[in-house]
Symmetry: C2
Subunit: 194 residues, 2 copies
């Protein structure tokens, strides 16, 4: 672990020279990326939580019913929406847990190990969030438009509130995806020089 050494080293010996020559500029730049990382991470958490909460509270009962059946739509009628909820819950849980690491990266802009850890975990989170969002989007599209060749009818004529909520959740998920993409780009740029 060379990273642990970098950090510990300067406090002991090299203070005198390095401060004068070139140190302040790259460190500032690094710190800037770490702060942007933290802010973007907050945005990603907010949108992931919004997506999960919106999906989780989406259900609607229609005001009429037959003898055998009341018409009701809820996210747990669709396995894809259940996957969406679980996936976004995982992503927001990971993002919350990653906040302390992001703070450490602000305090110690040159700790490479943390950046590397974050970029790897962010990539996994990106895959999860994207697949949850895209799968739900495919179903939402079907709910809005139906598909004539396979004879699947649009259900959004009846369940308007449900469809609106679900569409909102998908949009929030894609906002989260965009945030995580930028998180990865920033981490990659910050890893470049150290």
């Amino acid at each position: 672990m060379p990273a642990t050494i970098d950090v510990a080293e300067p406090s002991s010996s090299a203070k005198g020279k390095a401060v004068i020559v070139a140190a302040p500029h790259p460190a500032k730049w690094k710190k800037g990326t770490a702060i942007i990382d933290f802010v973007l991470r907050l945005g990603a958490i907010a949108s992931a939580l919004a997506a999960a909460a919106t999906m989780g509270t989406s259900d609607e009962s229609l005001p009429f019913f037959t003898q055998f059946f009341q018409f009701e739509a809820s996210y747990d009628d669709m396995p894809t929406f259940q996957f969406f909820l679980i996936g976004m819950a995982f992503v927001s849980g990971y993002l919350v847990l990653s906040l302390p690491f992001s703070i450490v990266a602000i305090v110690r802009p040159h700790a490479v190990g943390i950046r590397l850890f974050l970029i790897i975990m962010d990539t996994v989170a990106l895959t999860l969030a994207t697949s949850a969002g895209a799968a739900a989007a495919a179903i939402v599209y079907l709910a809005h438009n139906g598909n004539s060749s396979s004879n699947w009818l649009a259900i959004c004529n009846q369940f308007t509130d449900f469809c609106q909520k679900v569409s909102g959740a998908v949009v929030a998920a894609f906002v989260c995806v965009v945030c995580i993409v930028f998180l990865i780009l920033i981490s990659a740029v910050a890893l470049r020089r150290h």
Copy 2:
């Protein structure tokens, strides 16, 4: 600001020690990651092309028909499958175009700019491939199992060949996704030290 000193310090004073001990090794190690990158990229290309080709050739006509209608299933009946085809075609196009960059990274293991370019473009390709795969997977799941609450019936009882081809395309897409995830991880590790 004790942290600012880290970077400038080793380059100025600690050279003597570091060069002798560990210099030749990292170059080899870098080259190794670049070669793995190239091989993984070939795997990703193969699976992306397989996914696109399988989806593109998937259509099936049933041997019976009514007066008004012949039963036929093809990828272009479903907007999601069209998106899948276009998305995977883009991804495989990008991956083929990125091969020369990967070769340059083998020849010059310390060219940081190329690595950075590849990691950024790979992240975008990952998002595209994941969303295409997940959206198609959601529809394939529906085609296999149907959904009782929204009254969408499974169509795979009739269109068995079509469903098999489409499922195969989704699996190939996820193989491609896994390859790209590992590409990003390797690039991140290789960016760490230079």
